[in-house]
């Protein structure tokens, strides 16, 4: 089975209207830029997108929002995007906010065959509404369900043709857990290599979780908050 796709356009074949997608990344760090661009070009619409953030107005998932391709957003923090705000307030966009740790764990659970788990996060808040509460060790917890997606789209630093992935720095974030949770997982990488070039001991995502892989044409890697110190 050949997992290698020629480009982002070939990698997203099969993503159609009304599907649920997971997209890796935290802020603009470690997002699958090339696939997002291809999705914009494809014009697919009615998407449910699961991603920690919703990008900024002119980059990341913001591009899909501008283009009105997202029907529902499942995220933990969406405060960097004016178009998102407009669509949410007007009711065009459905929004489901989930605590960040629960989002990560629910994706992992979806990939790991754990349909539900108890967590203390959100107990006593509106997040817990309608959810089962149970006490463990004297502390109340709520039951959270696994998340899966028709397609998970992740971005890695290096990958081999078998789908093994290595991420770089904090661009790792949600990518490994989402890679586990896609019915089909697409990985875009900065460098695609042959099997044997990556050390088996340092693979972050084993290839079994990845169905399609390609080397991205280019990575802008925009920085959201450039903070520096002086050399004084």
């Amino acid at each position: 089975m050949n997992k290698v796709c020629a480009n982002a356009g070939a990698a997203i074949v099969g993503i159609s209207n009304e599907m649920t997608l997971m997209l890796g990344g935290f802020g603009l760090c470690g997002i699958p830029e090339n696939c997002i661009a291809a999705l914009v070009k494809s014009g697919v619409t009615g998407l449910t997108c699961i991603s920690n953030n919703a990008g900024v107005d002119d980059f990341g998932l913001g591009l899909l929002l501008q283009n009105r391709q997202i029907r529902k957003m499942i995220a933990s923090y969406v405060g960097e995007n004016a178009e998102f705000e407009r669509q949410m307030l007007s009711g065009e966009l459905e929004v489901d906010l989930i605590p960040q740790g629960s989002l990560a764990e629910r994706c992992r659970a979806g990939g790991a065959g754990i349909p539900a788990f108890f967590t203390p996060a959100g107990y006593g808040t509106e997040i817990a509404e309608g959810k089962e509460v149970r006490e463990f060790n004297g502390k109340p917890h709520i039951l959270e369900a696994a998340l899966t997606a028709d397609f998970a789209i992740v971005k890695a630093w290096k990958g081999d043709t078998l789908g093994n992935l290595i991420y770089k720095g904090t661009a790792r974030n949600f990518n490994p857990v989402m890679a586990m949770a896609g019915k089909i997982t697409i990985a875009e990488v900065e460098e695609l290599v042959e099997p044997g070039e990556l050390d088996p001991n340092y693979i972050h995502t084993p290839g079994v979780f990845v169905q399609r892989i390609f080397q991205g044409a280019k990575f802008e890697k925009r920085i959201e908050q450039r903070t520096v110190r002086s050399r004084s």
């Binding site: 935290f26 802020g27 603009l28 760090c29 470690g30 920690n52 995220a75 933990s76 923090y77 969406v78 405060g79 960097e80 705000e85 949410m88 307030l89 929004v95 906010l97 605590p99 960040q100 740790g101 629960s102 989002l103 990560a104 764990e105 994706c107 992992r108 967590t119 203390p120 996060a121 959100g122 107990y123 006593g124 808040t125 509106e126 997040i127 630093w157 770089k168 720095g169 904090t170 661009a171 790792r172 974030n173 949600f174 990518n175 490994p176 857990v177 972050h204 890697k221 925009r222 920085i223 959201e224 908050q225 450039r226 903070t227 520096v228 110190r229 002086s230 050399r231």
Partner: protein, 217 residues
């Protein structure tokens, strides 16, 4: 009154050697600048790094190395990178010794509200709900009153909660307060601020025992 940096500086005194600390966005971030010499602390950022260092020198920013505030950072020697599930495993599993975050309201039973104002735009809770539900040691850093002068130190929170009964201590521009459950114990007051002024600015029950010392740096 303390300014934002002084609030951070006071909280930095709470940090003990060898601790792992998660700092929220805003005032808490400033704490890293005031950790006393001789105290070795590892900072965790919930997007997936332990051993966060200072901001990079200009020209050395790496888009693949940011903190939970999306700011470019550096990694200290001995840092570790991990995914979001492991990051919150650390948090939920109580492996982090201290969490400091900002708040809109704190109540005397330790409830905290810091993520949503009904009728206003909701930006989301990010990692705050996981942090406050899990951490054993939570300090809130905030202004004592809002812009209208209303107390943010309440008998009961009015805003949607982020977590219940979790805050242990609050450091404001006016005072250091300990959460008692049925009130706040006034531990210290900002230089030049009287107990009466603090009482005036506090809507919650305030417990004052003996002489209340000024915050010392």
């Amino acid at each position: 009154m303390l300014d934002r940096n002084q609030i951070a500086q006071r909280i930095a005194q709470e940090v003990k050697n060898g601790w792992y600390v998660n700092l929220g966005i805003g005032i808490p971030t400033l704490i890293a600048n005031y950790v006393p010499e001789g105290i070795s602390v590892e900072f965790q950022s919930e997007n997936g790094i332990l051993g966060m260092g200072p901001f990079p020198f200009e020209g050395e920013e790496d888009a693949d190395l940011i903190n939970a505030g999306k700011q470019t950072i550096t990694a200290r020697p001995g840092a570790a990178i991990f995914d979001s599930a492991i990051s919150f495993a650390m948090i939920r599993g109580q492996h982090i010794n201290l969490t400091v975050l900002g708040a809109m309201e704190v109540s005397q039973n330790g409830d905290i509200a810091n993520w949503k104002i009904p009728g206003k735009l909701v930006k989301g809770m990010g990692g705050a709900m996981d942090l406050v539900a899990s951490a054993e040691n939570i300090i809130v850093a905030m202004m004592h009153t809002n812009r209208k002068g209303d107390s943010k130190i309440l008998k009961q929170c009015t805003l949607p909660l982020t977590g219940v009964g979790c805050v242990k201590k609050v450091v404001t521009n006016m005072a250091v307060l300990e959460v008692l459950g049925d009130g706040f114990r006034l531990l210290e007051r900002a230089p030049g601020v009287s107990v009466a002024e603090i009482r005036e600015a506090t809507a919650a029950r305030l417990v004052i025992e003996g002489e209340v010392p000024e915050i010392a740096f």
